[in-house]
Symmetry: C2
Subunit: 143 residues, 2 copies
DNA sequence: AATATAATTGAGAATGATTATCAATCACAT
DNA sequence: ATGTGATTGATAATCATTCTCAATTATATT
């Protein structure tokens, strides 16, 4: 099982793209990120680690990270696109608290089965599905 | 069962908001719309019907339509927020063809049950869920 | 190691959807 | 008919994202 960095390098090589310092620094920062993140979060983390990669380069690199199967766009919240790491992780879906913004991940076998059934019924070939449930988390219900 | 227009009027009155000509023209145009639409689509339809309601007012009215339970945001596609009418319609989810943009609606009882089960397990109170499956429709698979 | 070449970068301008501002107008209760 | 606060249109502002372009860099080849 290749590491994140190796997988990214291999992807770039296949596409005749270069493994630059900027791309190296971005992937290193992504590896450390735990939660859902947006473009600016990557940028802020770079600065925190004494890297001067520009925001433009962050935006340019995101599609490469997606195409290489390392991250995916998972949800839109407050006008922002959030991403998360997916390499070497099981697919899962999300509960999002509209009050505090907390994101709870869950995996459900039935969701996957159901997706297959629905796609077959509509002769549809799925590349991705996203189930997002919005509402109130335990804490926020009390208010 | 109140009509769209009546329901909107009642909502506005409850909130001490006014039923203006502009809001009337917007709701009339929404009633006629069949598919998923964005803010600009509403604006274009208004102009087609000799209405001069501004785009700013369209944007200002959308939250009112959502709060009154007449429409909901259903999906993001190509950087645009798409809405659809929901009043007096059964909840449903979507298959979206990433090639041609076709949107197929489907209803599945199991999706609803599953949502309840997951929310109970996480002590979460859902206000809304959205299941979007992206992939290739029958036509686009052949290419 | 030097060279060639196409890819990449940073800085800042451009874009495009959406939101805010504000003076003029309007809906509606009294 | 009047008063008051809500609403509107026009347009400026915002904010995330994308584009532009000259300067720089990675990598294959000599």
């Amino acid at each position: 099982m290749a590491t994140y960095k190796e997988k990214f390098k291999i992807f770039l090589k296949e596409k005749d793209l270069k493994y630059t310092i900027e791309r190296k620094e971005i992937i290193e920062v992504i590896i450390k990120l735990q939660n859902h993140f947006d473009a600016d979060e990557i940028y802020q983390q770079l600065r925190k680690h004494q890297s001067n990669v520009s925001l433009a380069t962050v935006y340019r690199t995101i599609p490469l990270l997606i195409d290489s199967g390392l991250i995916m766009e998972t949800l839109h919240f407050k006008e922002k696109v959030l991403y998360e790491k997916i390499y070497n992780r099981k697919h899962h879906d999300h509960l999002i608290c509209v009050n505090c913004g907390e994101i709870i991940e869950f995996y459900d076998e039935d969701v996957e089965k159901m997706q297959n059934r629905i796609c077959q019924a509509h002769q549809f070939v799925a590349t991705e599905h996203r189930l997002g449930i919005k509402g109130y988390c335990k804490k926020c219900q009390k208010k």
